[in-house]
């Protein structure tokens, strides 16, 4: 145990220069203090709680402190609760995927990737999000305004605030379908406990969604892009509750049509006590209206 901790600390130290640069970029305006408890907390009314993104980071931190999330006894075999951001950044929009470990594309995958490139450097014109197509899984996990796990007999429900989507993770012993009859944006998912780890396997995905947006923008024209997947994608999720307020996760994506190797990413997410999932719907007519009023007029003719 001790040696693992030491190795971890050395690893962290080795990465500090990179992270410092990243944080410097993130906090380019050091004088801009984040909003805090001086901002009034707005809820729908007595007895109602704010959605995870409806309270700022200071309130989120105060709620975690009030609930003693770091020391409170917890059931290792229950991940029920509202989770949002990371312990280090409670206002993060979901979980960040480790882009540095992304395996190379197959030839088919490279073409699928290039098909996601935006028409211009000015906006992400191919992003399904812009027209409110379902984000699908795992993008709903990677980009969300909070999620909620609800444990029921025989299944666990996973609600996503962004888009107001949910999926069923069946825990009644059924197996994944060998040939799912209808592709799903949120796939077919089954779960079981392996020791203290909740393991979720899924397949049957609709290939129109992105795994995540590609924020590296590494293509030559610096155009926005997304990471594609095929209908052959399978995903294994492994959740482990490190303490009452922190959930560790590992997501492994296997898609031999698009990627030359499985892709694993690890993160931790934070419990958001005293929060309720609300209704952040993506309304197509609203998105179109917004783009017509304040997006398209800002683009050069190339991008329209």
């Amino acid at each position: 145990m001790r040696s693992f901790a030491i190795v971890g600390l050395v690893f962290v130290a080795a990465l500090l220069p990179f992270e410092s640069a990243a944080l410097a970029q993130q906090n380019a305006n050091p004088g801009a203090e984040k909003p805090g408890l001086e901002v009034p907390l707005i809820t729908p009314g007595p007895g109602w709680k704010p959605c995870p993104r409806c309270k700022n980071e200071a309130y989120a931190a105060a709620d975690r402190k009030k609930e003693n999330v770091d020391t409170r006894p917890f059931d290792k075999h229950n991940i029920t609760g509202v989770w949002s951001g990371t312990p280090q950044a409670l206002d993060d929009n979901g979980s960040n995927f480790d882009m540095k470990t992304l395996p190379p594309f197959t030839p088919y995958g490279q073409k699928a990737y290039e098909a996601t490139f935006s028409d211009s450097p000015e906006w992400s014109s191919k992003d399904p999000m812009n027209i409110c197509d379902p984000l699908g899984y795992p993008r709903s996990f990677a980009y969300n305004y909070g999620i909620e796990f609800v444990t029921l007999p025989g299944r666990t429900l996973e609600f996503f605030e962004w888009g107001h989507y949910w999926r069923d993770i069946w825990t009644d012993g059924r197996k994944l379908p060998s040939n799912p009859p209808i592709p799903r944006f949120y796939g077919y998912a089954v779960g079981h406990w392996d020791g203290d780890t909740f393991v979720v396997d899924s397949n049957g995905y609709d290939d129109r969604s992105w795994i995540v947006a590609d924020n590296r923008r590494q293509n030559a024209e610096k155009r926005a892009a997304g990471l594609p997947h095929s209908d052959a994608m399978t995903i294994r999720e492994e959740y482990k509750r490190l303490n009452y307020g922190v959930l560790q996760l590992k997501i492994t994506i296997t898609d031999p049509k698009v990627y030359t190797a499985p892709w694993s990413t690890t993160d931790v997410i934070a419990l958001s006590p005293d929060s309720e999932i609300a209704e952040h719907l993506c309304v197509t007519s609203d998105s179109i209206s917004y783009d017509e009023q304040n997006t398209k007029p800002t683009l050069s003719s190339q991008g329209k």
């Binding site: 929009n93 719907l281 009023q293």
Partner: protein, 150 residues
Amino acid sequence: MLRRTLLVGVVMAIAALLTWNPPVFAHHGAAVWSNTEITLKGTVVDYFWRNPHVLLTWNVTDDKGNVVKWTGELASPESMMADDGMTKDTFRPGEELILLVRQAKTGTPNSVIDQIKRPDGTTVMRYSRQAGSQNFAGALSPEDQAKRKN
């Protein structure tokens, strides 16, 4: 207990270091906006308290009496509520506002809003969290602006 706490901390730190990503942009990035902030005094036309971004439109009348309708981007309703205490009732058509904005490079009256004040000096929105706003937090105090320049 100490070992366990240490282990949890190390795992969390490693995960955080490995997974930092720049912010996403779905609709457009900072490149479409001018690098110069301008102050506009206008009258609210519409206030769309909706996704994907709250949108404010207002009329600006020039010295010759010409009226130009502007649009301005804010963050999501949740973010505006959490960080500024704004609600669907914050603005009403016809009321005057003083807005610090970055205009679209196309020269059209479209913008991202960096700060909103009322004529009595009350600050409604202190600074933006929108594209590129980390370099244009117009609501900074003079002292903070000096720090930024240094």
